[in-house]
Symmetry: C2
Subunit: 153 residues, 2 copies
């Protein structure tokens, strides 16, 4: 598995927030319902994103979370790093500690290339870009239903 489940949920929730970007705080309960993710679990994940400065939160009635920056300024890599950490982009494919240009494993060079491709994809893709694609093509963020039904209320 490339990304942990927490990370995947974090990405889906971030896309949801980017799609509703009007400055309002969105209650987590709302998101957990729409995205079919356990409320408490999602809450913990979003707390991490808040702690990392990707989201900001507000307590009480009319509270919730929202993106701290515009979705055009948030890359997927930001969320992956905040939740899964840098391992995916730094670790040796054979699990050897300290594997690098100085002291490589036999797979190092090839894996470094592939890893760079992953890195580049995550770095070049913004939330807004995916939201735009999702909206225009009515793609999905949940098992069933398209982008539109996420926002029908």
């Amino acid at each position: 598995m490339l990304l942990s489940k927490s990370c995947v949920y974090g990405l889906r929730a971030s896309l949801y927030l980017a799609a509703r970007e009007q400055g309002e705080f969105i209650p987590i309960r709302n998101m957990s319902d729409k995205l079919e993710i356990s409320f408490h679990f999602l809450t913990k994940i979003l707390q991490q994103l808040t702690a990392e400065g990707i989201l900001e939160s507000f307590k009480g009635p009319n509270g919730g979370v929202r993106l701290k920056k515009s979705g055009t300024e948030v890359q997927l890599i930001d969320i992956v790093l905040a939740i899964d950490g840098p391992q995916l982009l730094t670790e040796c494919a054979l699990g050897l500690p300290g594997c690098g240009v100085k002291n490589p494993c036999p797979l190092h060079d090839k894996w470094a290339e592939t890893r760079d491709a992953i890195h580049e994809m995550l770095e070049k893709t913004t939330l807004t870009e995916l939201v735009h694609k999702g909206k225009t093509e009515n793609l999905r963020l949940t098992t069933d239903g398209g982008f539109d039904i996420l926002f029908d209320n």
Copy 2:
């Protein structure tokens, strides 16, 4: 984490076997010592590779395991599929079931490209190729020491 620990151990052990390819069976205990992997854990992993027809085993004195085919005919993808299964190369990056060309998520296209790069790397790389690189450049398969010390007895 791209590959599970079991898979990484399976790769390291397969490289070890490919490097010693002289038709003899290598005791797992020998490998677990050299590669610094728990003997019983490695045994179970190699059992999977044997069940998948990548290795063959022989019990009793002078027994052990060896590659069933030449290392030139074994690609990394064979070992990854045998141990981790096809998920890495089929799963949706956002974890949505049934994500594909017919019913994609917003990230599908980009992730499919990246995934193909991973697939291609694993598919084009043979054990022998990595062993050759490891031998000529004295690279490592363990935390410390180079390729040579693996085979000094």
